[in-house]
């Protein structure tokens, strides 16, 4: 008797599970009736076939879109190009059936271009970086690989690099040109092109040469015009450090380059060693013997 009850309970449980599975299957089958493509290109529109008769409420929810409208069953249901502009996942619900599909980006129409830094030293390798994100006409990120060209032009000299986007983005590191001046940095893909300006300035001094003379207050040290190794004048405002060391100690004066040269007045001394430096570059040294 006990065994009989156990069998009935087990059988009942099994029946419940089978019924539940059948319900799930029926729901899943019913939901699959709405026939939509897996992907649609942005801005191309879509017609969804429908069956049955009478009217029903159509729901479409996706990026930038939320539609609720009455449609006639048994006819093709139109989703316009304007309604499907944004890339992403769309949910469609109609008469108890639901489906999802993806809108994917169209051809490249624009580029978001990050060019850094805005000011770089001339004649320096891999110092200018460009990062380009490619978008279609609806500002969807284009994830399919796209060819992209980076060009840096300064004083008629062009450095270029061709890359392919990955996940909608490409980047390049380029050398700055030998001569200082504004450089045009362009990223282009197909007809889309973006330009940025990068100011190339002289890099560190190549060498520093100074002279020293006695003046009424002490020693006047002055550099010759300071250039980088490509011959570009080092920008005004760059700090140059003059140092005088004698038996009394060490005196240091920081001076800025003005009109290409830097100068500093050092304390009077009859026996000093005078040196000059800017950044990591050390110039000549003068053994001062009271102006001899």
């Amino acid at each position: 008797m006990t065994n009989d009850i156990e069998v009935k309970v087990k059988f009942g449980g099994m029946t419940a599970i089978v019924l539940l599975l059948m319900c799930c299957f029926a729901i899943a089958t019913h939901a699959a009736e709405l026939n939509v493509p897996a992907t649609v290109t942005a801005g191309s529109g879509l017609t969804i076939p429908s069956s049955g008769s009478g009217s029903a409420t159509l729901y479409v929810v996706g990026p930038g879109t939320a539609i609720k409208r009455q449609v006639q069953l048994g006819q093709g249901i139109q989703l316009s190009a304007e309604e499907l502009q944004n890339a992403g996942r769309y949910v469609v619900a109609l008469d108890g059936n639901t489906a999802t599909f993806f809108v994917i980006a169209g051809p490249v129409q624009s580029i978001a271009f990050l060019a850094r830094p805005s000011r770089v030293p001339a004649d320096t390798p891999n110092v200018v970086t460009g990062t380009a994100f490619v978008f279609d006409k609806y500002q969807n990120l284009v994830l399919q690989p796209q060819p992209i060209k980076f060009e840096l032009t300064a004083n008629g000299q062009t450095v270029s690099r061709s890359e392919t986007t990955k996940n909608g983005v490409a980047f390049a590191k380029l050398d700055s040109s030998k001569m200082e001046g504004p450089a045009q940095f362009v990223a282009s893909s197909g007809a889309a092109s973006v330009r940025r300006v990068v100011q190339e300035v002289a890099s560190d001094p190549c060498s520093i040469r100074m002279t020293a003379v006695r003046d009424k207050n002490g020693i006047l040290a002055r550099t010759e015009p300071i250039h980088d190794c490509a011959g570009n004048p080092v920008p005004d405002g760059t700090i140059v450090t003059f140092t005088a060391a004698d038996a009394k100690g060490k005196s240091t004066v920081d001076a800025r380059i003005k009109q290409g040269v830097a100068e500093a007045e050092l304390p009077a001394s009859n026996n000093a060693t005078i040196s000059v430096a800017s950044g990591v570059v050390v110039g000549n040294e003068i053994q001062w013997r009271g102006g001899q």
Binding site: K8, I17, V61, G64, A66, N86, T131, F133
Partner: protein, 175 residues
């Protein structure tokens, strides 16, 4: 008749189990999205630990505000976390939802996120996010669509003054 009774009991028990276990998860998930960000594949620049933490915090906050905004049809909630096209498109979604009397209830069950690009100058990061979501599309109080879905997102975040903001958020068929 006797054989039907256990089936009804089993279904009722199943319904109770579903209700008991489902409700607390939804409440918890709505308040905090679990975001795990893997930065091992980020290139060309490595992502520092502090940036990784900030990214996880800001991306989780962005998702939380987005789900709230889509549920309450409040675009004003987005401004702190979304900018550019992501902000524009979400705002448009909310505007259209409000117009149609719709809203979305999204239960965020967690994300597995890979950082795939970190720009050389450190101002932009691209993420590949695999999100586990329960999405309910509501017409007023009526559910017109419900699903548990694994959705893949490409997200582009840019550095703002003191946080990362989502500039692009696109669901994609796969990576």
């Amino acid at each position: 008749m006797k054989s039907v009774f256990p089936a009804v009991v089993a279904l009722a028990a199943l319904a109770v189990v579903v209700l008991v276990f489902r409700t607390p998860q939804r409440v918890l998930a709505a308040s905090t999205a679990s975001i795990a960000i893997n930065v091992e594949h980020a290139a060309p620049r490595e992502i520092e630990e502090t940036t990784q933490k900030a990214l996880g915090r800001d991306y989780a906050t962005a998702w939380q505000t987005m789900t709230e905004a889509l549920e309450q049809n409040r675009a004003d909630l987005l401004s702190g976390n979304f900018i550019g096209t992501a902000g524009d498109k979400l705002t448009a979604t909310i505007r259209e939802q409000a117009k149609a009397g719709l809203h979305q209830h999204i239960t965020d069950r967690g994300h597995v996120v890979d950082a795939v690009f970190y720009s050389p100058e450190g101002s932009a990061i691209e993420l590949h996010d695999t999100a586990q979501l329960q999405i309910d599309v509501m017409d007023g109080s009526r559910v017109v669509h419900t699903e548990n879905a694994t959705v893949h997102y490409v997200a582009l975040l840019t550095a703002a003054e003191n946080s990362w903001k989502v500039r692009v958020l696109e669901a994609v068929p796969g990576f």
